[in-house]
Structures are given as structure tokens and as C-alpha cells.
Symmetry: C3
Subunit: 156 residues, 3 copies
């Protein structure tokens, strides 16, 4: 009898994880578009081949520079990557470990909300400690799932 | 009765996802080797301890610099990371959501092909819009899986 | 009959993977704290809003700089990300492919050990080839799981 992984998705916790993970990954992907938008509007590029339409030869070099708005989006993107990767790994394994649905939803919702707020605080920017708090809330959610996972299912 | 996760892998979509994910992650890992290769052949290092065999004291400092070929590989590597992480997260959950095999294969194949082409376009480099198109094709594949996942299995 | 993903976690290989993945992701998350610690103690910031408590206007600019200890932690963090992402993706799929428990444990333990050693070698720092060896050991473990996965379950 063939296993049916679609059955896995009948589980509400895993289905909720899939929804929140997809949303936050799509948000992260949007950071690439934001970077490209600032690069083009500010004419700030990292590769000579990217600004060839603006000029040739020596003329190209003036577009190969860094700009604070581009670097800011790139830092926000890298911070997403550094925090969403642990959420994905720990969150998936946590979801498979059979947690209570309402507890799991609380974790997923707070994490996703905190990362949206983090990006907003980074890009506007909002004064500190807005961004710092957003970071630590998401961080705490992931550690809480890690703790719950290791407490119930520790196997080394 | 103990659950047998190997049964999960009898599912063709998940097996295909495992193959494509493994291939594209192995390709991404290769970027580390490419960086190390350029660092050693061009004698361009980020850490004093990495170039101690080339000289001591003041002599070491001249190897602590940046070089355009090294930075290019590093940008290609980071772009991989930014795009392969969403593919892994969304692709796994999409595979578990019971999609049609041929549709799933189409997504995996186009994504993996577009990332190989992206790396080639970045490293040679090819003139734009080669790299830009490769990026957007992979981006579109991931968004298409995200859309399919959220449409069928939305749970917030 | 509803699928019970908690049953998946009765599988010892997946439970072991969950434990080791959680440990190494928690270690990676610690790198953010290490970066923040060096930024605050060395007064080295990337964003004007982060150092407003130290001064206003022109006075702020002197804190917007780079520092070798901060950059070192950031490079160690990025190297973690570049290597732990393939471990997570390939390791999860490998765990689902029904490997021998003792072989799987050997892979997980060596990988996690090598990454802890890598961070220690990067931050102290230890002379090369300590960090290089730690990198290649972890790299080899991931490639070994990728090979095992593709040999048994190749589907393109």
C-alpha cells in the first residue's frame, strides 16, 4: 500500500505551518525585488554587465558603487535569511512532533508578525528599539519551539 | 505500529523533490569550493590566519583584500541561498500537499535548470538580461508552488 | 482516518535528525547574539538609528563603521548559513529515505561536531588548517548523505 503524503497535510498543525511558512518565505523573496528596485532607481550596481544600458567603458564604473538604501534592504534580507532558516527547520520538526494546535498557531502567528514588523522597522526606518524588539520576539518564538521539541523528543 | 517514514518516500512527487533538492543544494555547496579556489589562486583572503603560509606580520596584510572575481562568486552564492531556501521550504510543503506528478516535475525541473543557468550567467559572465531572466524564472516557479499550496491548503 | 504526523516522529532516525538539527540551528542563532554583543561593546554599528543613544547628528557618524571582530562573527554566521541549509534540506530527505540508524547518527554527530569546532576555530581564532578541516568534514558529511539519497532514490 502506497503512502499518501497528502494525508500528512490533513493534520491541522502541519497545514497551518505550511501556510505561515509560505507567507513568510514569500515576504522574504520580496526583498530581492526591493533590492532590484532601489538598484535601478538609484542607479547603483554591483556588476558591470548590469549597468551596460546606462553607458559603456569608463562610464560604467560610476554606477558600480554602494548606496545606503540598497545596503539597508540587503541587511534586512540577510537578517530574514538568518532568522527564517531556523524557523523553517525547527518549525517543521516541531509541527511533526504533535504539538497542541492553539499553541502552535500562537507560535507561527507571533513569528510571522514579528518578521513583518522587523522589515517595516528596518526599511522606514523606525527608531530603536522597534527593530530590536521585533528581532527578539521572533527569536524567542523559535527558541520556544526548539525547547518544546527537545524536551519531548530528545534523542542524541 | 511504528510509523515508517521510508513509506513517505514511495511517493513519487516527494522522491522527485528529494532528487532535485539534493542536486541544487549540491550545486550551491560547490560555490564554497569556487570561492576557496579563487581565494587561493588570486591570493585574496579575509582572515589573517588564512594567509600565514604566504608570509608573516606586515607581509600578511597585503593578502587581506577584496577581489572582483571572489566577490562575484560570493554574490552568486548569496543569491543561491536567498532563492534556494524558499524553494526548499515551499517545495517540500508543496510536495506534501499532493500535487499532480507531471506538474510538480515541471516546477522542479525549471527551477533547477534556471539556477544552473543563473550561476553560469553570473560567473562567465553573460550579458544581461541572461542572469535577470534566470532569476525571474526560478522566482516564478517558487511563487507558483506557493500559490498552489495556499489555494489548496490555506489555514491561518 | 486522519494522518498522525506525530507517528512520523516515532521513527528514531527522524527523531535524531530533529534533535541534531535543532541543536545546530540554535547554535547558528547564537551568532546573532554574538554579533550584537560585539557591536554594542565595540560601538560599531551599521544603522544610524542603532547608535542614537550614543549621540546625535554628526556625532553618530563615527559609530557607523566596520570592525574586524564584528566582521569575523558575521563571516562565521554566513558560513554557518551556507553549510547548515544544505544539511537541513539533504539531512531531512535522507532521514525520510530510511537509512540505517547507526549510520545516520554517525552523520548527524560528525556534522554537528564539525560545525561547533568550525565556529570555535573562527572566533578564537585557531591557526589554519583547523577551520579548513572543520569545514571540509561537515561538507563531506552532507555530500555523503546526498550520495546515499541519490543512489537509493533517484527520480528525475
Amino acid at each position: 500500500k502506497m503512502a499518501n503524503p497528502a494525508k500528512l497535510m490533513d493534520n491541522e498543525v502541519l497545514m497551518a505551518f505550511a501556510s505561515y511558512a509560505t507567507i513568510i518565505l514569500s515576504k522574504m523573496m520580496f526583498m530581492s525585488i526591493a533590492t532590484a528596485f532601489f538598484r535601478v532607481t538609484k542607479k547603483v550596481f554591483a556588476n558591470p554587465e548590469d549597468c551596460e544600458s546606462f553607458g559603456k567603458g569608463e562610464n560604467v564604473k560610476k554606477f558600480l558603487r554602494t548606496d545606503e538604501s540598497v545596503e539597508r534592504v540587503r541587511r534586512a534580507h540577510l537578517n530574514d535569511l538568518e532568522n527564517i532558516v531556523p524557523f523553517l527547520g525547527i518549525g517543521l520538526l516541531y509541527s511533526l512532533s504533535g504539538p497542541d494546535l492553539s499553541t502552535a498557531l500562537l507560535h507561527f502567528r507571533i513569528f510571522v508578525g514579528s518578521r513583518f514588523y522587523h522589515t517595516m522597522a528596518y526599511l522606514l526606518p523606525l527608531p530603536q528599539p522597534n527593530r530590536g524588539l521585533a528581532f527578539f520576539v521572533g527569536y524567542g518564538v523559535t527558541l520556544s519551539m526548539a525547547y518544546s521539541l527537545l524536551r519531548n523528543r530528545f534523542y542524541l
